[in-house]
Symmetry: C2
Subunit: 412 residues, 2 copies
């Protein structure tokens, strides 16, 4: 038997208890030992709940109990999670977590402590909810050198974009519906501004490339400016608009970015709709692989947390190796990255605008939709981000005759 503790009895924490109870028999069989929940830490009381007897408000009780070998941290947020997790590892207890803020910020350090003590720090649930991606990256794709990871890593924004595309609704209408349904927070900033996806791609990039990718270095753009007309143009062009979190290696340099992006209908990610997530990986041997599933939610996330607990129990006093050094990776300047832009403008005079656009961008492809006859929209030739941004600034300088409404990247 192995005693475990769960830090936090919120959505994920109660899901972990539910999963451990529901599938007790098969989980214990796979772990090779009976897993017993000895403590649940929470500041609230839960009278009448199944964990009433094991509830504690005192972390020291847990940390000082030598029988507790595995701790699941499912509180979220950097503090006090970081202090708790570090203390647990320093007391030779393996930790599993669903906490992407914690992992993105302190993952490298916590992995190092676990490695030094022959215990484990596991975080499958921190990216892609239940989708197995951390373990495959660490243990399955070991024959490959990975050169691209591109993911739809946030279910809330994917739900919003899918619904905008399907029903022609605008961002605010769909956001409100998502909030009413509980798919989006009352304060949706972390999701819609791309901050959540940014932390997740930082974690995946760090694992894939073996050095610490600081999420604060990653260019991040949210979906709040994507409009129903952008969606209509995308459809006309044969594209979907998705919030892509991407990280690519080119000539030994890595760049990473989170941004709403138009992708072609043939790309496997374009068919990932609603609250689903997917992570698309390119390796120099395996080619393209993709992992798909529910990226959030109580039970899918709990499934990943419990799978990590099983692994931690199977590997008591044996570190599962992963390659994420504390050495910081200097990312490639995003201005060097090649891209194409889709741009919408409202012209004063079509003729003049046409000439100006030609002068600035060269040979662009125009696209028209019935819903916006007064606009001009076009796709630029390929250029570096730096050059394209400059060109957009030049266009904006003509504000007496052209109003730039929208700029969206196109995945090549």
């Amino acid at each position: 038997m192995v005693d475990v503790a769960i830090l936090g009895y919120g959505t994920v924490g109660s899901g972990v208890v539910e999963v451990l109870t529901k599938n007790e028999e098969s989980i214990n069989k796979k772990a090779g030992k009976k897993i017993k929940i000895k403590y649940v830490l929470d500041l609230k009381d839960f009278p009448g709940s199944p964990i009433e007897d094991v509830l504690t408000k005192d972390y020291d009780t847990i940390i000082n109990d030598p029988d507790v070998k595995v701790i699941a941290e499912v509180m979220g947020g950097v503090e006090p999670a970081y202090t708790f997790v570090k203390k647990a590892l320093l007391n030779n207890k393996s930790v599993v977590t669903s906490n992407k803020e914690l992992v993105a910020r302190h993952g490298a350090e916590l992995l190092k402590i676990a490695r030094q003590r022959d215990i484990n720090f596991l975080f499958e649930a921190s990216v892609g909810g239940g989708i197995p991606i951390i373990r495959p990256l660490n243990q399955s794709l070991t024959a490959d050198e990975i050169y691209e990871i591109t993911g739809i890593l946030n279910g809330t924004t994917n739900f919003i974009l899918s619904k905008m595309a399907d029903e022609g609704l605008d961002f605010n209408t769909v956001l409100k519906e998502a909030q009413d349904k509980g798919y989006a927070e009352r304060n949706p900033e972390a999701d819609v501004e791309g901050f959540d996806a940014c932390r997740k791609i930082a974690i995946l990039s760090s694992l894939a490339f073996g050095m610490h990718v600081d999420f604060e270095d990653i260019y991040t753009e949210g979906i709040t400016k994507v409009s129903d007309l952008d969606m209509a143009y995308a459809k006309k062009l044969g594209y979907d608009i998705k919030l892509l979190a991407t990280s690519k290696k080119k000539n030994d340099k890595v760049y990473a970015m989170v941004a709403p992006t138009m992708i072609g209908g043939e790309h496997p990610l374009s068919n990932v709709n609603g609250v689903f997530n997917a992570i698309f990986v390119k390796g120099n041997v395996i080619g393209d692989v993709m992992f798909y599933g529910k990226g959030a939610g109580k039970l899918p996330t709990a499934s990943a947390v419990v799978a990590d607990m099983v692994d931690a129990v199977k590997h008591i006093k044996r570190n599962i190796v992963s390659f994420w050094s504390t050495k910081k990776m200097e990312l490639m300047d995003i201005n060097e990255v090649l891209s194409r832009y889709f741009i919408r403008v409202t012209p004063q005079s079509r003729k003049e605008a046409h000439d100006t656009i030609g002068t600035i961008f060269g040979d662009v492809d125009y696209v028209k939709i019935d819903e916006a006859k007064e606009e001009m929209a076009f796709v630029t030739p390929e250029g570096t981000e730096g050059a394209l941004k400059d060109q957009v600034e030049q266009l904006k300088a003509h504000k007496d005759m052209i109003d730039v409404i929208s700029v969206i990247r196109i995945e090549k």
Copy 2:
């Protein structure tokens, strides 16, 4: 340093050598030790090839070399692979293999030998080529009770069906093109009759449900009868036709089947096209997850073989647990499975045929396409396979007035 041997220098074997050479540095880092190819076994000579110096025709040299800790069997076929692999395991050498025939037939026994000797028998490459599926099933989805696995497990047939759908071509034309391109064998039976997919779903089912599923018990139907008109009807109905290998648990009973099946455009598997494979898994906690990638080919397959070699090297003298007992699983009678059929007939008299169809099947949904105005086609209500087959027989009995052209299942 760990010495390894490779049995077979065909497509996959040469791919394994290529991958080990190409990514030598990162592979050795992930394995924690240098992997050295000490022997390649093949009956042919390969003068001037990179493995000339390590080539041997004598298996006993390998088996009697105490330095060889890991053997990759990539010859294919049951014999002599089975004899070689068993001997290797009995000599305490871990074995990794890409050989689905071997694994489907003898997997349970070989896993047992490996377990008893604290070594490993790994076979990620035997299903889905490079797609990580065996390891995720064994190690990631451990919190779940899996109740469905449905896969597109054969790239050749998926290429053929995708091309028929996209270009309106008939089976034989596309098969010939696939053969010319090297996507299909000169003798394509194993692929197009579903035998290959059958072995793979047997392996996945055995792992997911923990008992030995005998591939010979699995109902298997190939794609040779699927016509361009069937494709046109499917499109009209909003479906794709895919060769699905499926295994589902219902009320503690499991059934498994390989058959061309119509699936809706919303199903993630419907977007898996060309030579790509995908495995869709349902768990009672995680919900739906899918794994996607190249299901065959020299380098993707070699990627999985080498990833297994890395794992075997990391786990010398330590068995990686999997749950596939030698106990045989009695599958549920397929006649009890619920299904809907799509049926095409050529009637002598439409009125009479209409009445007969109504009498036999009850309330069916008719569907019409311009390409086949003289036909009648319909979708039956849901019924058991047993009942539906009976009804088709009854219909066929009216052969003076109705000619049954085509019967295809519809995924619910």
